[in-house]
């Protein structure tokens, strides 16, 4: 019999619905595990023991009464602290929101509750999702479960670390430029950024509204598929949500890759990556080829412009979105307040951390009259060119494979802020700029045992293709079944 922390979400839901597992026992076991090991790891910002146990009890009572609690019956889920939870403190790991108790649930949070999930608590992250290492959390750092001296990636670092450490089988993260896929890669989990608009953003604290998407992290492709089936779909409260039916993603995981055309691009690997990351990714592609896929070379010539375009567009949108934190309606208000403008300036100066300030300043620069055409508009034009690159490539292939990140997880403190840190995202950014779905799945390890992630990108609404490949690959490999020894 597996222990609670080894069970996958599909196993748990099947067991709870079938009466062979009890949601309350699972919930209790995971809360005890968090208490035992998360002090060292730092993946949870807060655990909602009372709320989680009440949800688990309701699930068990429903099953006992002959009712079906839903597709995520009794499945413990952790939420990135960027997702708004009614009655449960939500901070985006920022001082400016410390103590904020939201009066409403985000749409995905409501959907999880409605599907019988047990919400364990809120997960660590880079402040306002700005970062690639979780080192910009204003609360505490989060470690990588495979090596506690290294970072878990970011910004959804807590989500990836918690899943990899067996603290919850599913976590939700958000991805604006790679913030689900890069930490998934660093921690050896599956993570999917859905097509822009596939999942409602209502109740997601906004970073860059034209790029942000919510998605699940899990150990197996099938568990991620189960979660995405629940959270995807149109929402009247998000005008950018796509009105298209939600396919059976879990069923897609059972498909094979025969005849599938996988594109590889020189610009997304060859020039930039060497060593264990390149070897692991090449090995995975060879395995897929052996299983019947066809490998086709494609070109994405504007890839090198994704980084500068992204770091103009995302900060520009962020500087506008974060204007709402002004100390008036909620969040931190400074004591220094001779007049209204000084109150705004002091509250924001005290409340925001260094990376958030850097991006607000950069975004304000890009949007400023006189610079707008040279920077912001130019970046939006480059965004069009990047999208056209993908459109041309997808005439020839069904998906594109690459490393998720050029490196494995690096040591805490190893990268300076600014451009050096931003380099961690060079392969993940263009997917957000083009609005496409992307996934990272574990496909190897370096000599120190640090996980390597394979990134798969598909055309808009092509999530089923991603699950099909991931499901097939996970039947051929056992990278996703490895667990970090330090925390077993």
């Amino acid at each position: 019999v597996s222990e609670a922390h080894q069970l996958g979400a599909c196993e748990i839901a099947d067991g709870v619905r079938g009466g062979t597992l009890r949601a309350q026992e699972l919930c209790r076991a995971l809360i005890e595990r968090i208490a035992r090991i998360d002090g060292e790891l730092g993946s949870f910002l807060r655990v909602d023991e009372e709320g989680a146990m009440a949800q688990a009890r309701a699930v068990d009572e429903a099953v006992a009464g002959g009712a079906d609690p839903g597709p995520l019956a009794g499945v413990p889920v952790g939420l990135k602290d960027l997702l708004v939870t009614k009655g449960l403190e939500t901070t985006a790991a920022s001082r400016i929101l410390r103590g904020w108790i939201p009066p409403y649930d985000g749409t995905v949070v409501g959907k999880l509750r409605g599907a019988g999930a047990v919400l364990l608590g809120k997960l660590n992250m880079d402040e306002f999702a700005m970062g690639s290492s979780n080192e910009h959390s204003s609360v505490k750092p989060c470690a990588n479960p495979w090596d506690l001296a290294r970072v878990p990636g970011g910004s959804s670092g807590g989500s990836a670390a918690a899943v990899a450490a067996g603290l919850c089988p599913i976590a939700l993260g958000t991805d604006t430029g790679g913030s689900i896929r890069q930490p998934a890669s660093f921690c050896g989990t599956v993570g999917i950024k859905p097509t822009y608009g596939r999942v409602s953003r209502y109740g997601l604290i906004a970073f860059a509204s034209s790029l942000d998407q919510i998605g699940p992290l899990a150990r197996s492709a099938e568990d991620a598929a189960l979660a995405l089936e629940v959270i995807a779909g149109v929402d009247p409260k998000d005008a950018t949500s796509i009105d298209a039916p939600v396919p059976a993603y879990r069923a897609a995981c059972a498909g094979d890759v025969k005849g599938l055309r996988i594109g590889i691009a020189e610009e997304m690997g060859g020039d930039v990556v060497a060593g264990p990351v390149a070897d692991a990714v090449a090995g995975a592609i060879t395995e897929l080829e052996r299983a019947g896929a066809e490998v086709v070379r494609v070109s994405l010539p504007h890839t090198r412009y994704a980084l500068p375009a992204y770091y103009l567009i995302a900060p520009a949108e962020a500087s506008s979105n974060l204007a709402r934190y002004d100390g008036v309606r909620y969040g931190h208000r400074s004591e220094h307040q001779a007049d209204l403008v000084e109150m705004y300036e002091a509250s924001r100066g005290e409340g925001f951390g260094p990376e958030v300030k850097r991006r607000i300043m950069l975004g304000t620069f890009a949007l400023r009259a006189g610079y707008y055409d040279a920077y912001y508009k130019k970046a939006q034009q480059v965004r069009t060119l990047i999208r056209q690159d993908f459109e041309r490539a997808f005439e020839k292939v069904d998906l594109i494979a690459s490393p998720t990140s050029p490196t494995v997880a690096f040591e805490a403190g190893a990268r300076k802020d600014g451009m050096e840190m931003y380099q961690a995202d060079i392969f993940t950014l263009s997917c957000n700029l083009a609005g496409l779905p992307g996934m990272s799945l574990p496909c190897g390890a370096d000599p120190d045992g640090m996980p390597v992630g394979l990134q798969l990108l598909a055309p808009a609404l092509g999530e089923e293709t991603l699950f099909r490949v991931a499901g097939a690959y996970q039947r051929l490999s056992d990278w996703h079944q490895r667990t970090p020894e330090a925390l077993s």
Partner: protein, 101 residues
């Protein structure tokens, strides 16, 4: 090389309503100069006639019915505010001279 001057930085901070210390301004001056230097790579691309992309999906504006629906009760909307009075948000004086509350 795009160098951001100290005056320009102060003006950006004012526009962003962001109070920054001298140390922070020092750091931002070199960071922004470094970052903008990388951004200049975009200049080598000819984008004449390329339509700017503002949104990831081609979709029109969806309109909802103009019907009355449930909204957040006032007490709940005010509950997280630093200061309230009689159903309103309270802020410091808008004019520096400090008239009113």
């Amino acid at each position: 090389m795009t160098t951001v001057s100290r005056d320009e930085l102060r003006e950006l901070a004012r526009l962003a309503r962001l109070q920054l210390t001298d140390d922070e301004l020092d750091g931002l001056q070199s960071d922004l100069t470094d970052i903008l230097d990388h951004m200049n790579a975009l200049r080598e691309l000819d984008t004449t006639g390329v339509e700017p992309m503002t949104h990831a999906m081609d979709m029109g504006q969806r309109l909802r019915d103009g019907s009355v629906a449930e909204s957040l009760p006032r007490d709940e909307a005010l509950a997280a505010a630093p200061r309230t009075d009689d159903g309103s948000f309270v802020v410091p004086a808008i004019l520096p001279s400090g008239e009113g509350s």
